[in-house]
């Protein structure tokens, strides 16, 4: 889903992010830390590369028979006493939850961090329906207080410094709190405890769902996932259909690489396995469990050009290493999923027009592909996405014209040389010591911050006859 921020074109949004000193500080610190931790974690795992290959293989094979595994999952969840809802769109998924809230008299819902619910803008919908949503992941809690959206897949408040969080808490929670992560965490913990006990519904996403056991798997670091799935009387899990995996053996493969890629941990602090609602004789767990299987544009990509993006584990590693993300942060992208993988997911979930500019928000440096736990070839897919936009005439006409002209030049050495000569003549008024400092029109985009070398008095081709 889109943001009001989209009224401003992407290059301007990116430009504004570059000027935000707090954002720059927060981003540099956090992404650098994530990069180092990930590197360390994999250095201690000699079988890491083999596990990554295997994880990719599992994703490939599962998508080949997605219908089979989803049905198996649904059967098993139902056998355990849970309810399964199939949602073709995000809107349908939202409706299922709102209907449940109405029917069951839900007034408050506690949430564990979930990108799927961000995707369908669930919190706003709940509020409109008179249900109070409470985010219980610390990062999500922070941005909910700030009325913002997550700017990173696993670290939603990555764009905020601890000083900003202290100010926010002091203002919203009426107190004076020091910019000390421990103090602030304790404040949030105190605020949230009561909500866990009060809430009628717990809403989560799902990192995985295991088909042959009907297990919903949540990976968290704060234990809030466990509270959300055990204290309220109803648990609703929303998951994209691609999250199903065949077996517990497969789960072990993914768990070995997910936290390492995300935070550099061997495992996250909590891995919560949910199998059905509370059974007779059990002391805790919800009375009702609902699993929503959401398509929302995913299924059609199984045979589409964005297929590999369905392998994504949402670890966020590609964001941390992306030179563009590291400069502009997540909000500038404007959609639920930022960063390199986010561009592909946005194309999948929001359509081609949404990524007209975003498709070019990458220098194609390949760092994302290198760290992806399932080796998604993001740069290659971005190039293919660009091709798709060119073919669909979504790329601007002027751009298509320029590249067509460029191709003409590249195909004809005579034209190429003529242009070199023309360039040499045209650059004359601007050349200082072999460089161009300030150029008009389009070229100013380069020379605003960088010198441009002048076209050489004699190009290599022209010098060759003396060298031969």
């Amino acid at each position: 889903m889109s943001d009001p921020i989209l009224a401003t074109p992407f290059p301007r949004r990116a430009g504004a992010a570059l000027k935000d000193a707090y954002l720059q500080e927060a981003l540099t610190i956090a992404t650098t830390k994530f990069i180092d931790l990930r590197k360390e974690a994999f250095a201690g795992l000699p079988e890491g590369d083999a596990l990554r290959d295997r994880a990719r293989g599992i994703k490939e094979a599962t998508l080949q028979r997605l219908d089979h595994y989803l049905e198996q999952l649904a059967d098993n969840v139902q056998r355990l006493g849970g309810h399964v809802h199939w949602a073709a769109t995000g809107e349908e998924a939202r409706e299922v939850i709102l209907r449940l809230c109405r029917d069951r008299g839900v007034k408050m819902a506690v949430k564990s961090k979930s990108m799927a619910t961000e995707e369908i803008e669930l919190n706003a919908a709940l509020e409109r329906a008179g249900v109070t949503p409470i985010e219980t992941d610390l990062g999500e809690y922070i941005i909910q207080l700030a009325h913002e959206r997550p700017s990173h897949i696993i670290a939603p408040a990555i764009h905020k410094t601890k000083g900003q969080v202290a100010d926010l808490f002091s203002r919203e929670l009426k107190g004076r709190f020091a910019a000390d992560p421990e103090v602030l965490t304790a404040v949030a913990r105190r605020e949230l405890r009561q909500k866990f006990l009060q809430a009628d519904m717990g809403i989560t996403g799902a990192n995985f769902a295991v088909a042959d056991t009907g297990t919903i798997v949540l990976v968290t670091n704060e234990g809030n996932g466990r509270m959300v799935t055990s204290l309220p009387r109803i648990h609703v899990a929303v998951m994209g259909m691609e999250k199903v995996i065949p077996s517990m053996t497969d789960l072990m493969v993914f768990l070995a690489i997910l936290a390492r890629s995300a935070t550099g941990q061997k495992l996250s602090s909590y891995t919560t396995l949910v199998r059905g609602p509370r059974r007779p004789g059990e002391l805790e767990g919800p009375e009702e469990l609902h699993l929503i299987l959401m398509d929302g544009g995913r299924v059609q990509q199984i045979a589409g050009p964005l297929r590999e993006a369905l392998y994504c584990l949402r670890c966020g590693a590609c964001l941390n290493v992306c030179p563009v993300y590291r400069q502009i942060g997540g909000h500038a992208y404007g959609y639920t999923y930022p960063g390199p993988i986010g561009i592909l997911l946005t194309a999948m979930l929001e359509g081609d027009r949404a990524v007209k500019d975003l498709a070019h928000a990458s220098s194609l440096c390949g760092a994302c592909k290198d760290v992806c736990p399932v080796r998604i070839d993001i740069p290659r897919m971005l190039v293919d996405l660009r091709e798709h936009l060119d073919r669909g005439r979504i790329a601007p006409r002027s751009e298509r014209l320029v590249f067509r002209l460029a191709r003409r030049l590249m195909e004809s050495p005579t034209l190429f040389r003529a242009c070199v000569r023309a360039g040499r003549w045209l650059q004359r008024p601007f050349v200082r010591a072999g460089r161009l400092r300030r150029l008009p029109f389009f070229f100013g985009k380069w020379t605003a911050t960088r010198e441009l070398p002048a076209v050489a008095a004699r190009t290599f081709s022209e010098r060759w006859k003396d060298l031969a």
């Binding site: 194609l364 067509r404 004809s412 022209e462």
Partner: protein
């Protein structure tokens, strides 16, 4: 193979490469009619256009035993993308695959094909090396350029922090999002200046254009040079333009 940026902006790099190769006993030829490898078209998604450029480049180099390029990204383009761009024409595709197998980025050619570990040259100063994305991640090469640089007498090679981070060039990216590109560049150049190096070396025309452009703009004393220039010992000021 001398591609567009090298031909127009850095002819001295091509000359240096020719000098180094000849010193090592390689017979160098330069097929006329070269323009660009087509990567700008490819990266922006104009694949049919890139295929036409690829087809003519494949034919231009049909007679060559080895093709050496002083630019990692152009070498990557030829080696990894040409064949799939030309998959519609089996004969061309086969020729593209053959060309891919014979095409080398300069440092890889020297170390892998010629088996050279040291090129006679000298250069006095502290040098740091930037890994170009396509040479590093595309062609998997990080050792050859460092080994060659380190073996030059008088070179004090210091490792650049985050040497594997992009310089922010990215072809058309540098003008589509010039502010972001420049912000990435600023980080890179701050790291370069932090090493205390006199000279920054790269093996790619694009990165050199970006990083040199940035260094010159900030009035830095650090010079950005191509590996070939260090190996040839021809690091004089670049040719003036009248």
């Amino acid at each position: 193979m001398i591609t567009c940026l090298g031909d127009l902006f850095f002819p001295e790099v091509g000359e240096a490469m020719v000098a180094v190769l000849r010193r090592l006993g390689v017979a160098v030829d330069f097929p006329p009619g070269q323009t660009c490898c087509g990567m700008p078209l490819f990266n922006s998604g104009y694949h049919d256009d890139a295929a036409r450029v690829a087809a003519r480049t494949v034919r231009l180099f049909e007679g060559a035993e080895h093709v050496v390029v002083p630019s990692g990204s152009c070498a990557w383009m030829v080696k990894t993308e040409y064949a799939s761009l030309l998959k519609g024409d089996p004969a061309l595709r086969a020729a593209a695959e053959a060309l891919a197998a014979r095409t080398w980025e300069l440092s890889q050619f020297l170390v892998t094909v010629l088996g050279v570990s040291r090129v006679e040259s000298d250069f006095a100063g502290r040098v740091t090396y930037h890994d170009s994305c396509h040479l590093l991640r595309g062609l998997g090469e990080s050792r050859a350029p460092r080994a060659l640089l380190g073996a030059v007498s008088g070179v004090d090679l210091v490792e650049l922090p985050e040497a594997d981070q992009c310089c922010g060039f990215g072809g058309s990216f540098s003008v589509r999002l010039p502010e972001v590109s420049s912000a990435i560049l600023d980080k890179k150049l701050a790291a370069v200046e932090g090493t205390g190096a006199d000279c920054l070396v790269a093996c790619d025309g694009g990165c050199l254009m970006q990083m040199r452009g940035g260094l010159e703009r900030r009035g830095s004393r650090v010079r950005a040079l191509h590996l070939a220039q260090i190996l040839a010992g021809s690091t004089a000021e670049r040719t003036r333009v009248e």
